[in-house]
């Protein structure tokens, strides 16, 4: 079985079920808009301080939207007990994992497609290709780690409690580098090139590591 085709099939299945129910994306979109609202009233944002505060709000909203999105990755599998059935097929667990991660990151990208324009609309920050590139690059690694820990906690009690606890510390490198990249793309001091290079390094590192670990996480 070609692992790439398996991964694509799994991703397509997840996205199709999302398309039919239309649960996650509208909820996530509302969630990030609400986060911007809270940011606005929490900080008293105006045109003078928007540039320094907006990157922080962007990452806050993105990280918590990501936790919600990845926390739901295995919800359907758990409710229908279909993960065991999937694992019983000759498809490799790594391919199944890659498919789940792919689908989850597509959902997060859909949510970013709402978040970034909304940020520009409400706070007047520039929406450039550089900002989009930084956010998309961070999404890759965050999705790999997020889906891996979602798979880990899927079988544990109090999983809603544990997922942020395990995932957030491992996301910190992405937030450090991604935060720096977005800040410099919005005109604050700092090297954009270096930050993007670092994001790519972290993406490679964690995508490789999570693929190696996927076998132990899913195979039960």
């Amino acid at each position: 079985m070609n692992p790439f085709r398996v991964a694509l099939a799994v991703a397509r299945k997840d996205l199709r079920s999302e398309w039919r129910t239309r649960e996650m994306v509208p909820a996530l979109a509302q969630f990030v808009v609400l986060a911007l609202l809270i940011g606005n009233f929490g900080f008293q944002i105006d045109s003078r301080n928007a540039l320094t505060i907006a990157p922080g709000i962007l990452w806050m909203a993105l990280v918590f939207a990501g936790l919600v999105a990845f926390g739901r990755t295995f919800a359907a599998e758990r409710e229908q007990a279909s993960l065991d059935a999937m694992l019983m097929t000759p498809a490799s667990p790594v391919a199944i994992f890659a498919g789940k991660a792919l689908a989850a990151s597509v959902l997060l990208v859909a949510c970013e497609a709402v978040l970034l324009p909304a940020l520009t609309l409400f706070f007047g920050t520039p929406l450039s290709g550089e900002v989009v590139a930084a956010v998309l690059l961070a999404t890759v690694g965050m999705a790999a780690l997020g889906v891996m820990f979602a798979a880990i906690v899927a079988r544990v009690r109090a999983r809603e409690l544990l997922l942020p606890l395990l995932t957030l510390p491992l996301w910190i490198p992405f937030i450090v580098a991604g935060g720096q990249a977005v800040q410099s793309a919005m005109g604050l001091p700092g090297s954009y090139q270096e930050a993007i290079g670092l994001l790519i390094d972290f993406d490679i590192l964690f995508v490789v590591l999570t693929s190696l670990a996927a076998r132990f996480v899913l195979d039960e």
Binding site: I152, R157, P169, A213
Partner: protein
């Protein structure tokens, strides 16, 4: 007094000796004054904590390879002792930072990565408690332990690249007077012994808890070999 109690008593006595040496033998720092004496235990506890987390990493790798319960218990023991030692490191560091830097906390590379270290392994302990004991918890723990160990240098590097103000490594740079170096080495040796004894005692506790929960080594399934076809 059994063997474990004798070792524990010896380790505590050694720590008291180290404390006496820190306060009576080591010279007072010219610039920082007596506050500098925190350094000996602060750095020793940090090194011992790294050692404990290395045990968690190795235990995790060995467990994933051959499901050895011994490796898993070592990992559990190492994580608990490591979290305690990291707490000591953080608290002592904050006590030092207040008079020297003027603030308890700053988002420096070492401080950030140590805090992340603490959060990751505190999370490890929570996962171990919440997961179904046995194979599931051990596997999850192994993966979390390995990722935690990889994450710490990454966090450290990414924040260093950003900004740092923690004092650099003075021990390897030969910048320490002989008396201070001797005090530091003694404290470090004593702390490492204490950590090893604590890990060992915790290992025994984990063994007893496993026995209580009837978690035993996986039974090796020996399959009968197919009889050779007779030609």
């Amino acid at each position: 007094m059994n063997r474990a109690e004798r070792w524990a008593a010896a380790a505590v006595a050694l720590m008291l000796v180290a404390g006496a040496v820190i306060f009576l033998y080591a010279p007072t720092d010219a610039l920082q004054g007596p506050v500098q004496r925190i350094f000996y235990l602060h750095v020793s506890a940090a090194i011992a904590a790294y050692g404990c987390f290395a045990v968690v990493l190795l235990g995790g790798i060995v467990y994933l390879r051959n499901e050895s319960l011994v490796a898993d218990r070592c990992a559990r023991a190492g994580a608990l002792v490591g979290v305690v030692l990291t707490t000591v490191t953080l608290v002592m560091g904050m006590l030092w930072a207040k008079p020297i830097w003027g603030t308890f906390w700053t988002w420096d590379a070492r401080l950030t990565s140590t805090l992340v270290l603490w959060i990751i392994y505190a999370g490890y302990l929570l996962v171990r408690r919440l997961a179904e004991p046995g194979r599931q918890a051990a596997r999850i723990g192994a993966v979390v332990g390995i990722f935690g160990f990889v994450d710490v240098p990454v966090v450290h590097f990414s924040v260093t690249w950003w900004r740092t103000q923690h004092p650099g490594p003075i021990i390897v740079n030969d910048a320490l007077p002989a008396q201070m170096l001797a005090t530091f080495l003694l404290t470090m040796a004593c702390t490492l012994i204490l950590a090893a004894v604590m890990v060992w005692m915790r290992y025994r506790i984990e063994t007893l808890m496993d026995e209580k929960q009837h978690i035993a080594e996986p039974v090796k399934v020996v399959t009968a070999r197919e009889p050779e076809p007779v030609p």
